[in-house]
Amino acid sequence: MTDPVIEIRNLHKSYSALEVLKGVDVTAPAGHVVSLIGSSGSGKSTLLRCANLLEDSQEGDVIFCGEPVVWKGTGLHRHPGDHAQMIRIRTNLSMVFQQFNLWSHMTILQNVMEAPLTVLKRDRAEVEASARAYLDKVGIGDKCDVYPAQLSGGQQQRAAIARALCMEPKALLFDEPTSALDPELEQEVVKVIKDLAAEGRTMLVVTHDMRMARDISDHVVFLHQGLIEEEGPPEAVFDAPQSERLRGFLSVTQSA
């Protein structure tokens, strides 16, 4: 269980003038859950987006299951060079977006079934069964046939999670997967994530919920202003923070 599934090395990323990531290394071995914490705007979402190649980065490497992404060009013109590889990586790496990004023209069930059907070419009946099962699991089995605009925020978020799960990928990227969920559902999601880890799936989770980060993680990374300020097992990070910044960041949580 120690082969890294997701490995990010010395990643640099700028939005024109704004340098968001300034050389970040993250490694997630198979079956491990790595949490990314850090203040708003520190680059957590950007890191996830770079990991599945939605954003082009300017320097550094992304390695998925031992296979490094092939780049073309350099600096601001750098982009993934091997299309087939990119698809291969993405189908094995599902993402739950911070803004959910459900396809607004499809019903919830269609949203969940879409990628398994068209990308993985799985059998329709089987996919439908598993899609319904996942929707039930996240508690919105009764909302199969409505469109995203008719759902509450939490329901949309759960639909987005079901969509990612239904791909049955090797690794998952969660961008604040419980931001719109109540504590009960949050616990459900924590349970789901733990189950997935037990199945051997690898996860990168961005979260603002320290309790959840502590619950689920094998490893916690604290991102600050585009750099990793501190990282380690949850006990170390939360109970014995080394850096000034992390101590400040955590103090509000602990004190309350």
């Binding site: 700028s14 939005y15 024109s16 082009d56 601001l76």
Partner: protein, 294 residues
């Protein structure tokens, strides 16, 4: 034009061409380019205003106004411009004169329709019967502009109506939640946001409008196509000092170049506008721009 043009038959080809291209008829041809461009320059904003009015009327919650707006958009849009031009201009002209007649000559004894004739008192003529030719031409020109604007206004109305509805609901809802009146949220949120959705359609309409200018001749305005046909047709020595065969291909090529160049120019301008509108927006256009800038 040139002094050596006195006897074209003796000229060499270059001089001949110089003389040929500067005949009074060619001057009319060149002038007509200006006519077409001014027509476009006036029609486009006017049509946009008509369209905007139509779209606002169509969105109105007052039933008669909404029917009027929708009727205008649907009916005028339904008639081919050629067919519209073939009878509407005469009808419009008669309508104006009829109104003027009612106002200026209230105690006119005769009926206006006498058999086939349409007769109003002299004072009601538009323009007056003794007005110089340029007044007649200008009047005809503005009737043409107005007609074009009515036709294209209906299409613009449709595009704007659709664009107003394409603005995402939450954006408008938020405005209302902040206490904006319908009027305020219309002007502050819908109108600025709708352009992104409207611009491709309006751009297309502009292209169609440019291409519709050859129909100007149906409205009594001598446009570039009229002159190109006239100049390009076979000319025998009896009626001209510059006889030639069927040169329509060349003249039409000139028109082609003109239209293509004008289109290109329009595209560049529209592109700039679109760029400004999509800057920083969460659409694939805005995204492509961001990536290109990177």
């Amino acid at each position: 034009m040139f002094s050596f043009c006195a006897d074209p038959e003796t000229l060499e080809s270059v001089q001949w061409l110089a003389c040929y291209l500067t005949t009074g008829k060619h001057m009319g041809f060149y002038w007509s380019f200006l006519t077409v461009l001014t027509l476009l320059a006036i029609t486009a904003p006017l049509a946009l205003i008509f369209g905007f009015g139509g779209a606002i009327a169509a969105r109105s919650t007052i039933a008669p106004l909404s029917w009027f707006g929708k009727g205008y958009i649907a009916i005028v849009r339904g008639v081919p411009d050629i067919a519209f031009f073939l009878f509407f201009v005469i009808a419009l002209d008669q309508g104006i004169e009829y109104l003027r007649h009612k106002i200026k000559c209230p105690d006119w004894p005769d009926t206006i329709r006498q058999g086939n004739d349409f007769i109003v008192c002299q004072a009601a003529k538009m323009p007056l019967g003794n007005a110089p030719q340029w007044v007649h031409e200008t009047y005809g020109y503005f009737i043409a502009v107005f007609t074009f604007a009515i036709v294209f206004g209906a299409f613009a109305g449709n595009v704007l109506f659709g664009a107003m509805r394409a603005v995402p609901k939450p954006q408008i809802e938020t405005a209302e939640a902040y206490g904006m009146t319908r009027r305020q949220s219309f002007w502050r949120i819908i109108v600025p946001q709708m352009w992104v959705y409207a611009l491709p359609g309006l751009g297309n309409l502009w292209m169609v409008l440019i291409k519709a200018t050859p129909l100007l001749f149906l409205l009594g305005v001598e446009d570039i196509v009229y002159w190109a046909r006239e100049l390009g047709g076979t000319k025998t020595p009896r009626f001209t000092d510059y006889p030639h065969g069927d040169w329509r291909v060349w003249y039409f090529l000139v028109l082609l170049v003109f239209y293509l160049a004008f289109t290109r120019l329009s595209e560049i301008v529209l592109d700039r506008v679109m760029r400004r509108l999509t800057a920083g927006q969460a659409t694939s256009g805005g995204e492509a721009q961001r990536r290109a800038a990177a």
